[in-house]
Amino acid sequence: MVDPPILQMTGIRKTFPGVVALDGVDFSLRPGEVHALMGENGAGKSTLIKVLTGVYGIDAGDITLDGAPVRFGGPLQAQQAGISTVYQEVNLCANLSVAENIFIGREPRRFGKIRWSEMRRRSAELLAGLDLHLDVAAPLGTYSLAIQQMVAIARAIDISAKVLILDEPTSSLDASEVERLFQVMRRLKRDGVAILFISHFLDQVYAVADRMTVLRNGTLIGEYATAELTQMQLVTKMIGKELTVLERLEEEPRTVTADAPRQPIVEAHELGRTGAIAPFELAIRGGEIVGLAGLLGSGRTELARLLFGADRPDHGTLKIDGRPVTLRTPRMAMNHGIAFSSENRRTEGVVGELSVRENIVLALQASRGWSRPIPRRKQDELVERYIKTLGIRPADPDVAVRNLSGGNQQKVLLARWLITEPRLLIVDEPTRGIDVGAKAEIQRLLVELADGGMAVLFVSAELEEVLRLSHKIEVLRERHLIEEVDNTGGGVDADRIMQAIASGAKS
């Protein structure tokens, strides 16, 4: 730990219209270390990386690489200088082949002509080094997101990087893939590569990082050795307050407000869609949070989409308030008081160009029809209330949503559905890619909504979260709903669910 830093950033400042994203941030990275960048959503982690790689310019501050001042005009220049990045979203081209995605821009050539066979051979070798055996001539889009992520990492690794930036690389990988990635990271570390690692999973950070730098609201909180900071201390530094909300939720017993056998709001009988989800039974009552647990691709989202009319079932019946209905479009579901907050907030959720206010009133306005505009005063009142309740930052209704961090975009999306006052709120991965503090706030909010009599269908890949919130857990495995676990008392633990998922048998 005496090596001089390979990369040094000092006094970095970056502003967007209406938002100070980074204010006087210092950061240093040494060769042969894994350095975690920690902070809540909106703390400025992604901005810092984009500033470093030249995607954004900076308003003030210095960056030095190998002791020499640098300022990159874009990722290409950064890459040439030895800084490679794997971003949170898979930034590859799904239409091109796997091999091309690894080598594009630096294909092996002879007399200017790309040597395809050479390129395929080297890609296959490279991927084999990561224990990945793919048809490298096939379009990348035919593979799962997890595989695409590994291809992105293979590309970054192959670009002989002095500095490798991994921005949320693990969010779409399963546990064994994560472990494989960590092995690769440790090997690179031994080779003297400096790795900047961002992850929301604290366990992963503690498993692999040597040091960490903590940001909060665009300012630097400090730099620490991982061994010298407990997880609790870290979280406290990240959110700037004690983590009481989460702990309180933990202790609160889950009680259904009125636990008489009431009429379910939504009732699915043998509902299913070929290739998406096998026929299932499900009833959701008011005041109840129903969690969907299962692995990636187990049919969680598919089930939710059927209930919202986003996909049409080819089997079974759906009853709302005891009456059979056919939901042909999401619009019909909305008219029945069902709201669906999508997992892809960027592509299916918020409209980045519009302001926070416009995004929030969108669904309500749509359900009223365009001929009856919502009075401006009512808009202001609603928007202000939800900005306050959900803690949307910055608390400015006129700021464009694309300037908000992921967690705050998620809150805007929730607010949009909440003002339509749905009776059943379906939330698909509301806490993915957002930090502990915002997570706790969103979880608390869902509990409050259920206490107020709303039914909530909660879809999340994070089992702990599902356990913490749900009264009832539906366990999915390979597109079958295999078990319903009652969690009203809160006594169910993760192992119990994992076992159900693993064994697949009703116990």
Binding site: T85, I114, M498
Partner: protein
């Protein structure tokens, strides 16, 4: 806090035969066009006398060489997910400028490079506007279209005959393969353009960057590809191809006229789309565009052979085909997703 132990996962490998089939899905639009072409040709041969003459087929190339060149340039643009509406107007401008200068006694050796340079520069300008000012290609090239068409009207409203010896030689030169079987020099030029274009798309970094931009421009940028330069380049190529198409058209017509090539941009786009290039970019082949041009040409030929149909039927058939192919694209891309 979430790193719960996962149950045993299936091995991360994908069965090869399953994927092979999916990879082939990219060829479906081109194969459909090929099938359509064969069908149309068989119909023609079955219904009309002399349709089976080799020259009938070669004439499709002779009569559409300029469109082929223009559509080749358009293919580059559409592969990046863009569009170029200016091509027809640039073709007209080229014929008018060439005819005017030749009539003023300028030598062909000067006029030819000059008109090519004008078209290329116009394309470069539009590309630069699209890239630097983040203008939608539709708008930028629409402006380019009005500009080029306006300029050609300003130069001369009337049709200008070309009598230059080089031009007339090019117009009359025939490359003969046998009695009554021939192609024009324009066809050779078009073939060279197509082969060069296809090689560039398949075997050069620039060509692959074109596909990458069409697939996902943001990703291409983050992968460190020269997105701006490539985007400007495809409009420059399209400008060059339009000018070259204009030269070929002036060989064919032996005149320059500001109202030449009205709506040719739409014919070019139709040819590209029918040839299986996906309008949102990133998928398709220049070979497909050749097939698309042949389909348009064969429709005209069949209508000519029929003799009783008005030429507007060409447009109607093109419209129906275009619609069918866009629906096909939609189905293919949706299932591939």
């Amino acid at each position: 806090m979430t790193d719960v132990k996962a149950p045993p996962q299936p091995e991360v490998t994908v069965a090869t035969p399953h994927k092979r089939r999916r990879a082939d899905r990219r060829h479906i639009p081109v194969l459909a066009t090929l099938a359509l072409l064969v069908l149309m040709y068989s119909l023609g041969v079955a219904n009309y006398d002399n349709f089976s003459d080799t020259q009938v087929l070669l004439n499709v190339f002779v009569d559409n060489a300029f469109l082929l060149v223009v559509a080749a340039g358009m293919t580059f643009v559409i592969l990046t997910g863009g569009i170029d509406l200016s091509v027809g107007a640039v073709v007209a401008l080229t014929t008018v400028v060439a005819a005017t200068l030749l009539n003023d006694g300028w030598p062909a050796a000067v006029v030819l490079p000059l008109v090519l340079l004008i078209g290329t520069t116009l394309g470069l300008g539009m590309g630069a506007v699209i890239h630097y000012f983040k203008v939608e290609p539709f708008i930028a090239t629409l402006a380019g279209m009005f500009l080029a068409r306006g300029l050609s009207l300003l130069i001369n409203r009337n049709s200008i005959p070309i009598t230059d010896p080089f031009w007339t030689a090019m117009a009359q030169e025939r490359i003969r393969f046998g009695p009554g079987i021939f192609i024009s020099t324009s066809v050779v030029i078009a073939a060279v353009v197509v082969l060069a274009g296809a090689a560039v798309l398949a075997y050069t970094r620039f060509g692959r960057t074109v596909y990458a931009i069409g697939g996902n421009a943001d990703s291409a940028l983050l992968m460190g590809l020269p997105v701006g330069r490539t985007r400007i380049a495809v409009y420059t190529i399209s400008g060059f191809c339009s000018a070259l198409g204009g030269v070929l058209l002036s060989f064919y017509m032996l005149s320059g006229y500001s109202l030449h090539a009205q709506g040719m941009e739409l014919d070019a786009i139709a040819a590209v789309v029918i040839g299986g290039v996906i309008l949102t970019g990133g998928s398709g082949y220049l070979f497909g565009t050749v097939l698309g041009v042949l389909v348009l040409g064969l429709i005209q030929t069949i209508i000519t052979f029929q003799g009783t149909l008005s030429s507007w039927w060409t447009k109607i058939v093109i419209g129906i085909l275009l619609f069918a192919f866009i629906v096909l694209q939609r189905l293919v891309t949706r299932r591939a997703r």
